[in-house]
Symmetry: C2
Subunit: 297 residues, 2 copies
């Protein structure tokens, strides 16, 4: 008795007991999906992938490759298990966080501008080593970033929503902010994080501190940050902002002390091998009747 | 009996037995240097610092803050000890090497170009994780870089002039080059490294491999590399080239697949605290009559 599974890639290992149909999320879904029991959603291909869920009458399990799954819960029928992609993006986000920090500390905007004019003008730069980095948000992405920061001899100060041994609580931020060279935000969007870094909190940072955000844009008041960077008092390196896409005429784009990337920290090559390995493990679990990993319902 | 020392900074600890005179290398040296016994050269301030050496009649020891010292040997009188700055730049160079790699892998030239036009155009990028990195030159800088690369889950293949356990020899490069995603050169300039990466060696690299150089520019044939990058076959991220400064009209400056910084990997803030700590240790050794560290003669 062969069970049918719907997966987004043709180049993964599928247990012999399973019959795989491939759909990468582009174009219309294939025919013959009435007996699909396990559905691995295509990643980052728009809403069609999720909309297919209620149209699979034999469905027993859904695997999303994103960490977030709130948008899927209303679509998953009662009795169907849902597993998420927790951890798949950690390394990609950590890597991009470090790329943003190093680009700012090692003056890459200056070098790229000089490259356009062929100018070999040398100056000494800041560094990451010896910097005191407030790592605000200490989950699995925060821990991946910390390994990089420690390799680079930065001093890491961990901050999370609640204090625990070795980790400061968010309530301590007013005491911690004045001591930071770099503030690195890795926060999800929720009522407690929204607007956490407003004008008052940013004002507590020392002159020329660097604000980096690879979590969700809503944690920072963009107008307040723009004002501080525009005044030359703070620097910023942002993969997320509270209004995305950032409008083309927003003043933040062209400020000297700002580096902006368009919310791409999680989407790099390092994601796919990890996503495929998770899908392979989950299909093997399913074929053997074992519990799935990363269940969220 | 107080011995006089000449140092480039006023904010370091000097043993009570020593009388410090400060000269930062700018402007003319101060008067009253006839009894200077220990001279810490100002860093990266031009040739005047070295030229002073033969004019210090009481000199017994010289500390340079550079790793290289060949230019000083002819100036140091017989019987005067010379210590170098081995290791002081390691972390700064390692950090910049990583900055170059991440800027290339995570498409920073694209993001910086989009920033100038206010474009929020998202694409998935390469990553450093899972890449196979040939680390060519495995001294103290290479080891510092390796810590970063391992934190980022890259696969490091060590290559040095001579094979030893865990390290490939340069003679194995023809077998190793076809397997590399990234080649990271951290080689000194000497007859064995000069021209090591010519057209034939570069041709062995797979399509779209990234060539990074933070050692000395002479290890790579710039014309051959320019041809490969110009053809879109290889990518390059270079802090050094074989002709410095790179002429303003050199085609490498404007190639899509090239990132160029003007030989600044070693000169960042992380250098100075380490240089000052070395100077303080050496002055303490001198005051106690102990042997100096990093002696090269």
């Amino acid at each position: 008795m062969t069970a049918r599974v719907l997966v987004p890639w043709s180049d993964i290992s599928v247990p012999a007991e399973l019959d795989a149909v491939v759909w990468d999320g582009r174009g219309a879904p294939p025919d013959g999906l009435d007996d699909v029991e396990f559905y691995v959603l295509p990643y980052d291909q728009g809403p069609a992938a999720a909309k297919l869920i209620p149209h699979l009458p034999s469905l027993r399990a859904v695997q999303t490759l994103s960490a977030g799954y709130d948008n899927l819960l209303p679509l998953v029928p009662s009795g169907v298990r849902l597993a998420n992609g927790r951890g798949l993006h950690d390394l990609s986000v950590a890597e991009h966080a470090l790329a943003l920090i190093l680009a700012a500390q090692r003056y890459f905007p200056r070098w790229f501008a000089q490259q356009r004019t062929g100018s070999w003008d040398r100056v000494h730069t800041r560094s990451l080593a010896d910097c005191r980095v407030l790592l605000v948000g200490y989950g699995s992405i925060g821990r991946a970033i910390e390994r990089y920061l420690e390799a680079g001899e930065a001093e890491v100060v961990r901050v999370a929503s609640a204090a625990r041994p070795g980790v400061h609580g968010i309530a301590e931020l007013p005491d911690l902010l004045p001591t930071a060279d770099i503030v690195l935000l890795v926060l999800p969007d929720n009522p407690r994080t929204r607007g956490l870094f407003g004008a008052a909190e940013l004002a507590l940072l020392p002159d020329t501190a660097l604000v980096v955000n690879v979590g969700r844009g809503t944690a920072v008041d963009t107008d307040a940050l723009t004002a501080e960077v525009s005044a030359g008092r703070l620097r910023a390196a942002l993969d997320v902002v509270d209004l995305e896409p950032l409008p083309a005429d927003h003043p933040l784009w062209t400020l000297d002390g700002a580096i902006i990337t368009p919310h791409i920290a999680g989407g790099s090559d390092s994601f796919y091998p990890r996503a495929k390995r998770l899908a392979e493990r989950q299909l093997a679990h399913y074929a053997k009747g074992e519990p799935l990993e990363n269940l969220v319902n």
